[in-house]
Amino acid sequence: MKPTMISSTARRKPRARLPVAGVIGGVIVAFWLVMAVIGPYIAPHDVGGVAGDAVFAPISAEYPLGTDYLGRDMLSRVLHGAPYTIGVALAAVIVASFGGTALALFAAASGGWFDAIVSRIVDVKLSIPSKLLALIMIAAFGSSVPVLILTAGIGYMPGAYRISRALAVNVQAMDYVQAARSRGEGLAYITFYEMLPNMLRPVLADLGLRFLFIVLLLSGMSFLGLGVQPPEADWGSLVRENIIGLSEGAPAVIVPAIAIATLTIAVNMVIDGFAGRKRRGG
């Protein structure tokens, strides 16, 4: 019988069992990461190359994903957009999660007035909607890739800080951290070797969620025309450019939307699978 087989392998190596959803998600994420790097080089057409009068052309051998509102090749546009969408979001999420976690660890470890001041500033920041902040930032500094990264990064840092600080305060009270302190360990060792490994799982799950929010924020900004500027385009801008094709049923508007959807869903699947696997491993 099948269940017997599964359980006997499981008994031998319980940690080797990979969740199917996680593997699928991992494959999709890996695919998009590769595309973010090599996409622009393997694109069959030039990013701005107008192909003639075939506006909103359907899927064909020449144009595997159809053409856009100017008759440009959609596949090439999506491939050229990948580094913007994934790269900018990745950079921003690193700023947000790493910055937030580092700040949280430092605040939790030092405590006292430093913790109080940082926490209150973060509370103030939390009260400003991130889209509003993004609009103000872009109105002030104009739209460029570094500004977008910083905007999204700063906008999503407070949430990461809050979660990490709550975790850090809990972990800090554990006996093994007390044991390390009474051993005379330095702050850096306690933080990075004793505390961080025990916070990693929820922090990573949060990082995945934050990545999605940032992709959506950037896509939203681009949709409003405040994101990556033409002729370059990220996936959000591609949706906006081709929005009039919606009534014609053109693939040009669906394809970038699907790209965004697959990326965000896949990241979630990886994070869920990762968390589940670790838990079983104990």
Binding site: P14, A179, R181, S182, G184, E185, E194, N198, G282
Partner: protein
């Protein structure tokens, strides 16, 4: 001629049999979704008015069997086979609705932690009479009258009004008794007591046991008493069922189990309760050197005095000397400041006054001011090994870190030493690459100890290291520590609430009460025991409250109620008077509530914080009537 008589007895037994369990099998699903059997064919029966004890270590299935008597299995468990009959009801074949009709009415349950079982937002009375109302046994007024009657029988203070309070307004021991009232309100055919006194201090436990015993006897209740403590069970039960790994090892009358245990496992349980006495360490050489550790006039408090917030004084003028190679025991009930004392010595809590000297050199009050060498020499072993070991680090890494940190040991040398340490604490080398979550409680505690030993310390502060472990496992850990002391010449400061644990391995015992050192005594070299009068009245109470492993002990111990204590004209309101005043049986009006007690040096090298003189105390406490086994 014999036969008819025997069958008549048998017939009578069948008539009065309340509980009959046969072939009970309980299964559970483990993490890997496999079915494992946790109770293998349990068989026993209980007659009316009989108290049966289920005894065993954690994981032996004793609670599972007790719950099965209510037709209940915990989440993930399944009552897989056999039959359970309680007062004529076949519990395993009934539906949920029928079971609900029996629970709380025919079978009542008293849980281990009353504090967790009461709803904090409802008054006690409403909760006590709830089951009577649910089963519509009597009107509300009658139920409340009956509850008050039960409160009185259970010797609760102010029985008429205690029901109006909320659960947080009464003590833990009182709450446990209130839970008994809750169970008995419906006059159930069977009462299940699941470790009802395990979470209590010994001095509270004795009050609760006495109340339980009285009620059970007066009402002729049939009861199942689940416990891991044979001495407690000896007071309560008529018969004992010894369990191990879900299998019944022995089933016999209490007197027989205690006096002539048939099964080897029962014998090992009995042996673990009375730990071996260890020879005192070779008398520490009183050389020119200062003692290893000296604590002078230590005060510690929580809360700030500045904001007008009340300052909670946790340690009050503690003086302590730990010679090299000696073991000092610190005992007291929960909240007496014993853990704070150890944390202060380790530098985790800053004292508000006083100083700590290591080898005559003053230690910084906090962690920041101490050198690595000072850290190395004082190691702290935490109470709970589950939380003291980082779950993400392998054992090799946990043990390797102090080696690298204090001794700069790396690579192969470190690995070799880790294996030596594992060998020292009697663990196989294979555990080195495992995570703490993959070890048992006893193994984790050994790792916890090995980590402290890795530093090659001079002093190990042990905070209740055996209290989270089963008796047999705890005894093995104590044995190991005593052995290591001989081998490595380390000193221990051994903190415990259990005077028996401390007594078996310590050279000197310090008794703390409300943050004060009320007594210190050295082990008598000749008699190898600590228990000879005079005692501080609190130590006396503490020693008297440890259940002895024989029947009838509970009846011999004289019960003291607040009203039986000597009357005081006025409560002690001035600061500095004896903290034990409210509970002391030897208090003197006009002295104890006016003046701070003096510290008296005793002839045997100890000291006592009391107004009574040494001779007076000895006279009052001899013969030591209510004291545990080896003295009486």
């Amino acid at each position: 001629m014999v036969l008819p008589a025997a069958s008549a007895v048998e017939a009578e037994n069948i008539m009065t049999e309340i509980v009959k369990v046969s072939g009970l099998r309980v299964t559970a699903r483990n993490d890997l979704d496999e079915e494992i059997t946790i109770v293998h064919g349990a068989e026993f029966s209980i007659n009316k008015g009989e108290v049966l004890a289920l005894i065993g270590e954690s994981g032996s299935g004793k609670s599972t069997i007790a719950l099965a008597l209510m037709g209940y299995a915990r989440a993930g468990c399944k009552l897989a086979g056999g039959s359970v009959t309680v007062a004529g009801n076949a519990m395993l074949s009934l539906g949920e609705r029928q079971l609900a009709g029996l629970r709380g009415r025919t079978v009542a349950y008293i849980a281990q932690s009353a504090a967790a079982s009461f709803n904090p937002s409802k008054r006690i009375m409403d909760q006590v009479i709830e089951s009577a109302l649910i089963h519509q046994l009597m009107p509300r007024a009658a139920a409340e009258a009956k509850a008050v009657q039960l409160f009185r029988e259970l010797a609760l203070p102010d029985p008429d009004n205690i029901g109006k309070r909320y659960p947080h307004q009464v003590s833990g021991g009182q709450l446990q008794r209130l839970m008994a009232a809750m169970a008995l309100i419906t006059d159930p055919e069977l009462v299940i007591l699941d470790e009802p006194t395990t979470a209590l201090d010994v001095t509270t436990q004795i009050e609760v046991l006495r109340a339980f015993k009285k009620v059970v006897q007066e009402r002729g209740s049939t009861a199942v008493y689940v416990s891991h403590d044979l001495a407690v069970v000896a007071q309560m039960a008529d018969r004992i069922v010894v369990l191990r790994d879900g299998q019944i090892q022995e089933n016999g009358a209490t007197a027989q189990i205690l006096a002539a245990p048939a099964h080897p496992y029962t014998r090992s349980l009995l042996a673990a309760i009375a730990p071996k006495r260890h020879a005192a360490a070779p008398e520490p050489k009183l050389t020119q050197e200062s003692p290893l550790l000296e604590v002078r006039g230590l005060f510690a408090s929580y809360g700030s005095a500045k904001g007008g917030a009340p300052v909670k004084c946790v340690l009050d003028d503690i003086n302590l000397v730990i010679p090299r190679g000696a073991t000092i025991g610190v005992i007291g009930e929960s909240g007496c400041g014993k853990t704070t004392l150890a944390r202060t010595i380790a530098g985790m809590v800053a004292p508000s006054e006083g100083e700590i000297l290591l080898d005559g050199k003053r230690l910084a009050p906090t962690l920041d001011g101490r050198t690595r060498e000072q850290f190395r020499r004082i190691q702290f072993v935490f109470q709970n090994a589950d939380t003291a070991l980082n779950p993400q680090h392998t054992i090799a890494r946990i043990l390797g870190r102090p080696l690298a940190f204090y001794h700069g040991m790396q690579g192969q040398a470190q690995r070799k030493r880790v294996l030596q340490l594992l060998d020292l604490v009697k663990l196989p080398a294979t555990v080195a690459d495992r995570l703490p979550g993959e070890l048992s409680g006893g193994q984790k505690q050994r790792i916890n100890l090995a980590r402290a030993l890795a530093a090659q310390p001079d002093l190990i502060l042990c905070d209740e290291v055996t209290s989270a472990l089963d008796t047999v496992v705890g005894a093995a850990i104590l044995e190991l520590m005593a052995e290591l002391r001989k081998e490595l010449n380390v000193s221990y400061m051994f903190i415990s609430h259990d005077i028996n644990t401390v007594r078996s391995i310590c050279d000197e015992i310090v008794v703390l009460y409300a943050g004060r050192k009320v007594e210190a005594r050295k082990r008598d070299v000749n008699s190898m025991r600590h228990s000879m009068p005079p005692f501080h009245p609190y130590s006396h109470l503490l020693i008297s409250s440890v259940p002895a492993l024989r029947r009838g002990w509970l009846e011999e111990v004289e019960g003291r109620t607040p009203s039986s204590l000597p009357q005081l004209a006025q409560p002690g309101q001035t600061g500095g008077v004896c903290a034990f005043l409210d509970r002391c049986a030897l208090r003197i009006d006009g002295v104890c509530n006016r003046l701070p007690p003096p510290r008296q040096q005793l002839d045997n090298g100890g000291s006592i914080l009391c107004h009574h003189g040494e001779a007076a105390l000895r006279d009052m406490q001899t013969p030591l009537r209510l004291v545990e086994g080896d003295v009486a």
